[in-house]
């Protein structure tokens, strides 16, 4: 089959992923090579900087200084606590909602999804400003403690967490499962706990990872509300000790990349079984992707 784009098609390659576009190999190698370099070089530079600092020779001093810094651990602990709170609250808010929507009100599924994307429309700096003015008079136990961060992070992470669970619930036949449970005499709570939740494992895992990664990386709201979380402390260090801050960043990057890659792979494998055209990978990574818009 002669293709009009690029080099003539090899008869064997027609059925592959590249059904339409024939693009020269040189073009592909150059594009992917140059762009790949742009993504790898900062990682290499960080690694080098963190091991040598500005002096000659390899040393681990940046890392040992960092790990022996008590504030590193306090702020990490604080962020982990906020993360756990956010994860639990997110699950409590989202699971019943998505299950309900698919079970009772599938018509409003799209509306709900749109609502969950609203936080992308309002920049987090603006939300913070609004939080200060509208909740400023709330009791100190909420506004004066990181509780307010967890409460807001649930909203800010919603565009990723909601979609993840929504597509997990979508994959189940909720009506049948619930009715089967009911006809066996189980209460709704029992059905949710023993039937639906086990089936939603990977969706829940996705929410846990996405919400947690979001909480560890979030800077804007935490710093503007004057809480010294992990990311805020990183910036404080960066103002005086560059090599420690870069070591810190490298650790933070690697520790967000690992769980995110796991989730991406898990989701693409799951989705690959169910959907054609490899679209599954995309949706899973899309919802992960949108994290950026908030992690900012």
């Amino acid at each position: 089959m002669a293709s009009i784009i690029g080099a003539p098609a090899k008869s064997s390659g027609v059925e592959g992923g590249s059904n339409v576009l024939r693009i020269g190999k040189i073009f592909r190698v150059v594009v992917l090579g140059v762009v790949g370099l742009y993504f790898i070089v900062p990682v290499i530079s960080s690694a080098r900087f963190s091991f040598t600092g500005s002096s000659k020779g390899i040393s681990l001093s940046a890392y040992s200084k960092l790990f022996s810094d008590p504030q590193f651990w306090t702020t990490l602990f604080l962020s982990v606590k906020i993360g756990i709170g956010t994860v639990i609250l997110s699950l409590v808010v989202i699971i019943p909602t998505t299950v309900w929507v698919h079970w009772k009100a599938p018509k409003i599924r799209r509306v709900m999804e749109a609502l969950s994307l609203l936080p992308l429309v309002i920049p987090s700096v603006v939300i913070t400003l609004g939080v200060i003015t509208s909740f400023g008079s709330l009791p100190n136990i909420i506004m004066g403690t990181p509780v307010i961060l967890a409460l807001e992070y649930v909203v800010l992470a919603l565009p990723y967490t909601y979609r993840t669970l929504d597509s997990a619930v979508q994959a189940l036949d909720i009506k049948t499962l619930v009715e089967a449970g009911q006809s066996l005499g189980a209460s709704l709570r029992k059905i949710l706990w023993w039937v639906l939740l086990p089936n939603l494992r990977s969706g829940v895992l996705g929410v846990v990872v996405l919400a947690f990664a979001f909480c560890l990386g979030e800077f804007a709201v935490a710093s503007l509300l004057s809480f010294t979380t992990f990311a805020v402390y990183l910036v404080q260090i960066g103002q005086t000790q560059a090599s420690e801050a870069i070591a810190f960043s490298l650790i933070a990057l690697v520790f967000t990349w690992i769980p995110l890659s796991i989730v991406t792979v898990v989701f693409s494998r799951r989705a690959g079984k169910r959907y054609r055209r490899g679209g599954g990978v995309l949706v899973a990574s899309q919802s992960i992707t949108e994290l950026t818009e908030l992690a900012e």
Partner: protein, 318 residues
Amino acid sequence: MAVPSLGENRESQSGFGGNGASEPQKGSAGMSVARFLRYGNWRRFMGVLPFVLYLGVFLLIPAITVVVDAFKGDSGNFTLSNFSVGFSGVYFESFKNSIQLSLFSALIATFVGLLVALAIVASPGRTLRAVVTAGSGVFANTGGVPLAFSFVATLGNFGLVAELLTKIGYNPYNHGFSLYSVLGLTIVYEYFLIPLMVLIMIPPIDALRKEWVDAASSLGASRIQFWRYIGGPLLAPPLLAGFLVLFTDAFAAYATAAALTSGTIPIVPIQIGSLISGNVLVGHAHLGNALGAGMIGVVIIAAIMYGLVQRRASRWLR
């Protein structure tokens, strides 16, 4: 409604999500309020009430407060003076910088992301594709503070690349370059914008149907004619929609810029941040609100355009 289409069309773009086939369709459009109430359908929506309330309290109330307070003077009176200050002088410059930064970084990322997506779809190997897609998902998520510092290690005064360039006789810092400028930020923002664009563009390129290419080629179209009349018009809407997503993303970004420049670069989010942190202008306690309202305005314009473009895009790519 611009916002709902954000979700709706991303999904239809990627060609799955059930296409709504499983949803009962009885009386969806023509249902009147009276019928709605009579049949007790409202009960069906009770289950989502907690969610909607949560969103209302922690998202809508703050957002509305910002906009409402933007029209308040220091004594609570109605005034437009916050806006007249907010859109003049240094704050006007900030809006200009922010829009310029978001436009350029989104443009570059759109172009590069398109090239990468084309290269990926054209590659025969499935492994490469899986790796790049997964990698894009992860890298697109690498915004924020760590990203800023890894670029300090790369292009900062003592960064690896800056050093290498100096060794071959071109110290970028002697030629007006600075990582801590709008140009520097543009380079850094590409790190999460390009992967985002790759993820956005792979499905529409995938969806260019083989039949169309075959039809074009059997009718004797040249490669240029194909792109001019078929491929181009088909890819233009998703490309434009993607551009708007990237624009919004870059426009709202705060952490990277704050960490990189210690909050000194004059862009709108940073200005709002410094107003929050206590650098309040006397007589304009609600200036930050006006800037915030301005940001919301810009984003809403982008979202409306996105909705319009997406409606067009989803016509073909099903």
